[in-house]
Amino acid sequence: MSKKLWSFKFSTASLVLIPAAVGINYIGKLFAGLLKLPLWLDSIGTMLASMLAGPIIGALSGAINNIIYGLTMDPISFVYAITSIAIGITVGILMYRGLIKNIYLAILSGIIVALVAAIVSTPINIAFWGGQTGNIWGDALFASLMAKKFPMWLASFLDEFVVDLPDKVASLVISFLIYKGLPKSLINLYSSDDEIERL
């Protein structure tokens, strides 16, 4: 794909992709809840936006996702905008480097995304929650590591990582499957640097 990776010139199509991405995140989370899945699946929209329109639109989708959550539900989401931005950027880069080609690479990429998300979230978790994530399983691990005198940053990182790993891998695999099923005309809509050919 010959598209410029860091283009800041947004087409209208890419911009209206952002509300759609935030909506998909939200619906993903609700469907996951409805099916009682032990995952959040609330970053599928962000990942799809990155795959379709690059890391910047992906990052914006992530940021706006958290701003909207912050405004309408839980203000703490604002600070985790940084994590969402990191997810958007990482998926965008992996995609445009051609690294998300098949299901195995998608799983591998999911691990990378989980790693990045955990690294970015850890300082926030430490500043706000003394290292916890609010997830019962993750926090149980955190408590047991703290009891064994692990350094707090490592315990906090592992707390976040075990929680993120299954979720981000599943999210990325699902996003990849959906992306693969998209019609070409739609994919083409977001790559803005086609030229008009004279007939």
């Binding site: 199509a13 509300p19 005309s185 086609d194 030229e195 008009i196 050919e197 004279r198 007939l199």
Partner: protein
Amino acid sequence: MAKIVVEGLKYRYPLSQKLALNDISFEINEGEFIGIIGANGAGKSTLCQALTGIVPLFFKGDYGGRVIIDDVEVAKSNLSEISLKIGMVFQNPFTQITGSKLTVYEEVAFGLENMGFEREEMKRRIDDALMLLDLYRHKDKNPFDLSGGQMQRLAIASIIAMQPKIIVLDEPTSQLDPQGSNEVFKAVSDLKKKGITVIMVEHKVEKLSEYADRIMLLHDGRLIDFDTPSKIFSKDDLKDYGVVEPVFTRYCKKIGLKDERGLYPVTLDEAVNLVVKKREHNS
């Protein structure tokens, strides 16, 4: 003068093998009501998009020929400027609501704000547009609380507020119930009375025949014919193009009932009048 001149228009969407528009030429005069008919895939939507500059300015692809509105070639202009000359209304009322405004009144203002109009001018235009589309009493409602027909009229009002001389409507009633469609047809005929050129893609040929001055028949990206409703629907090979004449015309064709010019009636009134005339003549 709001005249549309189309010369040798050709277009192929990106990634597509087939020409969506193939060597189309015609002219439309100010104040005309033009209907466009044709089977799915005939190129009706693409033609609408080419008239309003969406092709090739939004969808890129391969483009040839020219579309000229008011001596301006659309392919060399930009969509914001074009929107002051020619507006476009789409199929789905939902997707045309911006979603960023909380009232009908503010929704109509969206385009005017973007084009930098002064506040007083803006208000004047919004009032006019809402009156014309019979939406003024809903001006403080949330756009998403409107019925389908009202929402589609809001989309038209938002375009009309930009005061284009020409409005293109791509199947604006296809997703509405009969009541909503009637509302939209009435609104569109009011636009014509105001002197606005109306170009409308529509499958409901009975309705279209009542309003259109001329009808354009498209097939496979080509312009097959462009003439008055009577002439178009009196053709005997319409089935080959995947379109059907109004039910009145179909009936009269079956029983061989035509007027002195050899044309078949296309509306209920025309059919009734013709029968009455023939009956008088026979007795």
